[in-house]
Symmetry: C2
Subunit: 120 residues, 2 copies
Amino acid sequence: MLPTEDRFTRLPAPPYYAVIFSSQRTDRDAAGYDEASARMVELVRQQPGFLGFESTRDGAGFGITVAYFDSEDAIRHWRNNAEHAEARREGHRSWYDHFELRIARVERAYGGVRREQDAP
Amino acid sequence: MLPTEDRFTRLPAPPYYAVIFSSQRTDRDAAGYDEASARMVELVRQQPGFLGFESTRDGAGFGITVAYFDSEDAIRHWRNNAEHAEARREGHRSWYDHFELRIARVERAYGGVRREQDAP
């Protein structure tokens, strides 16, 4: 199992923005998809206003990624990135059977980590 | 592979609200967790203002569920459901090593389905 903490992103106090991307992968071009995914992570980390992301996909190819940004301007800036636009085109053409994208303003947030003393 | 369309939820035009729940499962009590999950789905579908949800979890136990509601009141109502509160307590105690919850107002949404003529 991967180290737990790596999968969660640390975010500032709300408000901030979430881009919620759900997608069903085709079974095509796994290598091209993996390479583009890694490149998009590298690129988005350089975007001004990017706060972090969480992502998972099950064995049937259904995935949800939520990326967080500090403003709508930051989302627009990322959307207009030329390499990102080309990756989206390839996504629509080849990698995804279906995707849904929702852009939302996060208003409240909380979380918890299980305490060791809770373990039986 | 599961039928693709079953994994996506159909939503009205924004605005509406999203509860973004990311979690790392422990490896404990798979049967109890599965039973409670199925019961929560059954219950939330009866909640006034519930619009739908999407959910996925990978082989390492990291999952994201996004549930959609038509208002903050509907979220509050679901939060106050007694069976749901008991399931959350058991989640903190036993099922989740770590979880994060973010409540957001969805402002824009769009999606796409790959057209057959795009296939090679």
